[in-house]
Amino acid sequence: ETEPDTPPGRTFAPPSARRLARELGVDIAVVDGSGPGGRIGEADVRAHAEGGGDHAGADAGDSGSDKAPAPTPTDVGSSDRKSAVHKRGD
């Protein structure tokens, strides 16, 4: 039985992405984050699980995920919440 440990030190990923990593058996410490500063989102975790390391960008809507990495408030120009969510999530 493989059960990824919670990595020591800080992990820059939201709780949902950390939980997903455990669910998929991914060691989140080796996932490349596509968010600001290398923040890891759920799409990054899924991309890692599927593609062996190469991450899909935060805006890549084709990662097959129904959830998406945390957006950044510098998403200029999308004053419409819904379109912002869908852009990140579809």
Binding site: P15, K67, G77, R81
Partner: protein
């Protein structure tokens, strides 16, 4: 000394030193821009001098006196006497420290302060008339301008503001005695904050509101809690009635006359009549048309998501730029204006704007209601935690209200929050960050929240939306 018409130049001219203007000026100066801030009255604008700050100070004072006088069940016996003049003096001290601070911060950041009234001469020139007799005026040439002239209370026909009987909100915040009977026209947030304040100070408060409830934009269950508590405090409400006129009463006080849509008339005795029916933008005397700018039919200046007016190098921020007319919106817009002028890619891209009402209990909201989320095409899921199930709320003696989170069912993204209860104005900050960060219900629920705190209720509401709250039953 008579100062003639001298001409100076500046990169950024900011007109009005309220929370829109002074924040814009400081940020512009921080970005290395030569910045001039013109203010005709008092630093800090409406917010610091006769709005947010003085109202919150009196809410604290009246709240403390009232709470201490009603804590027998806690074993506290007190019969507090309030010296209203002294309380207002204390409030004035707070205001003075803050407005003095604003002036100092502007100077420390290198903003040129120019007292006076500004008006546009053309697209790149303003004239500043200095106050006082024979003080002359100066011409200022600017590369960019930020209009932040704010708003003033709306007057209604027959109710000219006059301190001895018809109060504006500014008068209500500067009274030296508590009137025995206070009639309030308008049950919006300013009317309700002042109704609560004066009821706690011992006035018999009557609120007359044209609509059929208080606090128009809020949801029914939010309004109900605030209205019920106000009624407990002795506030009397008359809905569906518009103020038509006032007259002198036989007892030395005044009579407030109202009329329903059907023409039914009523009369309420009052020693002061506070009119708080809304605020209108201040652009008169500003001659914006000289700069090629038009105002809309309500007097507001239209702007885009970079706070630019139709004339690209002239921005407008704060109350003068339209709804929501809130201090933190003015400041946010001020920052965006300054950074856009500095060439940065800043924009009004916030996902949600929090707002608070400092009634008893407080209201804090941010983002979408369930109904709005539905209208926006989401399939919303809702979680609630009532404060009467919160240990922390019980230990504060304040258990009215709830935290409600609205999220997208499919993705779990938090879309909105409605909080009514103790410290709602503070608790909404976490929800606002959750929305901006694109946090899910799981993220909020998995974040460890200190025990015992009111903020735990935010976590519990997230768990409730997921069907697994601990301290409340899941539906």
């Amino acid at each position: 000394m008579v100062v003639g018409d001298i001409a100076t130049g500046t990169e950024v001219l900011v007109i009005g030193a309220g929370p829109g203007g002074y924040v814009a000026a400081i940020r512009a100066a921080q970005k290395g821009l030569d910045t001039t801030l013109v203010e005709k009255d008092a630093y800090g604008g409406a917010c610091l001098n006769r709005g947010c700050i003085p109202s919150k100070a009196l809410i604290t004072g009246s709240g403390l006196a009232h709470e201490a006088g009603n804590a027998e069940s806690m074993g506290i016996h007190a019969d507090p006497a309030v010296d209203m003049g002294k309380m207002v003096e204390w409030k004035d001290g707070v205001v003075d420290r803050l407005t003095g601070g604003v002036e100092k911060l502007c100077k420390a950041n290198g903003v040129n302060l120019v007292p006076g009234t500004a008006s546009f001469v053309d697209e790149h020139t303003a004239r500043v008339a200095h106050g006082g007799q024979g003080q002359g005026s100066e011409s200022i040439e600017f590369e960019h301008a930020i209009i932040a002239t704010g708003s003033r209370p709306i007057q209604i026909p027959g109710f000219e503001f006059a301190e001895d009987h018809v109060w504006s909100s500014a008068d209500a915040l500067d009274a030296d005695t508590v009137p025995d009977r206070l009639g309030i026209v308008g049950g919006g947030y300013i009317g309700m904050e002042l109704a609560t304040t004066y009821a706690k100070l011992g006035a018999d408060v009557t609120v007359v509101e044209m609509l059929d409830d208080i606090l128009d934009p809020y949801e029914d269950d939010v309004k109900r809690i605030v209205r019920k508590r106000a009624e407990e405090l002795g506030v009397e409400f008359h809905f569906g009635e518009g103020a038509s006129e006032w007259s002198e009463g036989a007892d030395g006080g005044y009579l407030l006359h109202t009329e329903t849509e059907e023409g039914e008339e009523s009369t309420y005795g009052a020693d002061k009549i506070l009119v708080a029916v809304g605020r209108q933008p201040v652009t008169d005397g500003l001659d914006v048309d000289n700069a090629g700018i038009e105002t809309d039919d309500r007097g507001f200046i239209e702007t885009d998501d970079r706070t630019r007016t139709a004339v690209e190098h002239i921005h407008a921020v704060g109350d003068v730029a339209g709804d929501p007319m809130l201090a933190h919106v003015a400041s946010k817009e001020g920052i965006v204006a300054a950074e856009v002028i500095a060439g940065e890619p800043t924009a009004l891209d916030q996902q949600a704007i929090p707002a608070a009402v400092f009634t008893d209990p407080e209201i804090g909201t941010v983002g979408m209601t369930e109904e709005e989320a539905e209208a926006d095409g989401f399939d919303p899921v809702v979680g609630e935690m009532p404060f009467n199930a919160s240990g922390r709320a019980m230990t504060t003696g304040h258990t009215e209200g709830f935290v409600r989170l609205v999220a997208d069912d499919e993705t779990g993204f938090v879309l909105g929050a409605q909080i009514v209860g103790p410290e709602a104005s503070e608790l909404i900050a976490e929800a606002a960050l959750a929305i901006e960060m694109g946090a899910t219900l799981e993220d909020v629920a998995a974040t460890v929240h200190t025990h015992p705190t009111l903020a735990e209720a935010v976590m519990e509401a997230a768990e409730n939306a997921r069907g697994q709250a601990i301290h409340t039953l899941n539906r």
